[in-house]
């Protein structure tokens, strides 16, 4: 498997929780946000997003609610829960420690 894909797979939950924690959002908007914020780096089969969202919802990290938009269309908005915020904080702390450790090692190697 592609290394970049593996990294994305291992961090999908953190990315989704991070986006949802900023503002309640729905599936298609999440795909677009991921693409925009990563300058097109995160591109994947869009359908794989929904199993991930449902897994997070099953684990009570997010909650989904149908909402009617002003144009009459319905969208399922996801909200982060208290538990989700705690999990996200832990994941971000771990990620930052990991990233700075990797960076330190790489910088030592290259200098």
């Amino acid at each position: 498997m592609n290394y970049g894909r593996e990294l994305l797979k291992g961090n999908t939950d953190s990315l989704l929780l991070c986006l949802i924690s900023r503002e309640p959002t729905y599936g298609y908007q999440i795909v677009k946000e991921l693409e925009t914020r990563s300058n097109g780096y995160f591109q994947f089969k869009e359908g794989t997003l929904y199993p991930a969202l449902h897994r997070l919802e099953r684990d009570n990290l997010i909650t989904g609610k149908w909402q009617i938009l002003p144009n009459g269309q319905q969208r399922r908005y996801y909200y982060i829960t208290e538990k989700g915020q705690q999990v996200l904080a832990n994941k971000l702390a771990t990620w930052q420690d990991f990233a700075s450790a990797v960076k330190s090692v790489i910088q030592t190697e290259t200098t």
Binding site: Y28, T48, P51, H54
Partner: protein, 298 residues
């Protein structure tokens, strides 16, 4: 365009064997995703047909999404697993305490609990744990048919000829209703019947049924009967907790193996022709949904 979207969603729904309310909800979510994608592509100058085609492609295989969603929802909680296995544990307890076999209080408690749980489950949207409880309700339907065959001087066959088609209709109707949700739930529901009728067949039927010898046989084989129900409870817990469908199918194969082994050990191969008939019917009723599912899975 509409047909390609509905075709995609139909393929998705056909593969997703979960509670229909959740299934319809996810399908609706995918549908809104496709609408958004198509709208964006059309704004970029694509035709409706092209936009629909690309939108469906970018969403990916409906079978794969269905499989991943299934694995998310297919794994029941430990609470659901214990609720599902509880009726088997209760029956095992009943046999384990076979000294209380004639005690109506024990029997009443188990019956009230079973009826209460089934009513509760029915009004809670038929959760997965309800099916093993429902299985115990089908048993009296079949037992009555067998008892009718024991009536003297040919009356048994006359009564059975009227009753058996009616009982079969009820039986097939309930199994079909359950199988519409998922074939595997039908097997899970029929599993208690497999255990009880396997023991029925090994202890003797016909005029000997419910005789003092038969009750004595139950008490003599209480340990093996307890092992059968505990194996069933274990298989039920595994079924609820396992995620991949193929493992769920495998977990359903445990009870028949344990039961056949314990029945053979207890009866030492001394089963009459009617007993074999009941045993084969139980195995057939239990195995058909698993086989149908395995075929659909392939």
């Amino acid at each position: 365009m509409v047909s390609s979207i509905s075709h995609y969603l139909n393929r998705f729904k056909a593969c997703l064997k979960i509670d229909h309310t959740i299934r319809d909800d996810v399908a609706e979510e995918l549908s809104t995703h496709l609408e958004d994608k198509i709208q964006e592509l059309e704004e970029n100058g694509l035709s409706k047909e092209e936009a629909g085609k690309i939108a469906v492609q970018s969403l990916g295989s409906p079978e794969l999404i269905a499989q991943q969603i299934y694995e998310t929802h297919a794994q029941g909680s430990w609470k659901e697993a214990l609720f599902s296995a509880l009726p088997h544990f209760l029956v095992a307890l009943l046999f384990a305490l076979y000294f209380y076999w004639h005690n109506l209080i024990w029997l009443s408690i188990v019956l009230i609990l079973t009826v209460g749980m089934a009513i509760y489950g029915w009004h809670r949207g038929k959760p997965i744990w309800l099916f093993p409880w429902l299985g115990y309700y089908l048993i009296p339907v079949v037992v009555t048919g067998i008892l009718l065959l024991s009536l003297p001087q040919g009356w048994g066959w006359i009564a059975a000829l009227i009753y058996i088609p009616l009982a079969l209709f009820v039986f097939i109707y309930i199994v079909r209703q359950t199988a519409r949700r998922d074939w595997l739930y039908a097997s899970l529901m029929l599993a208690p019947m497999l255990v009880i009728f396997s023991w029925f067949s090994s202890l003797g039927t016909g005029n000997r049924l419910l005789s003092s010898d038969w009750i004595a046989g139950l008490q003599t084989n209480a340990l093996w009967i307890v092992i059968s129900f505990i194996a069933l409870a274990g298989a039920t817990i595994a079924f609820i907790r396992l995620k991949p469908r193929r493992y769920k199918i495998l977990s359903l194969l445990i009870p028949p193996l344990v039961i056949l082994f314990s029945v053979t050990m207890a009866s030492r191969g001394n089963i009459d022709s009617r007993g074999w008939l009941i045993l084969l019917f139980s195995l057939f009723a239990f195995a058909t949904p698993v086989w149908m599912q395995a075929r659909a899975y392939q």
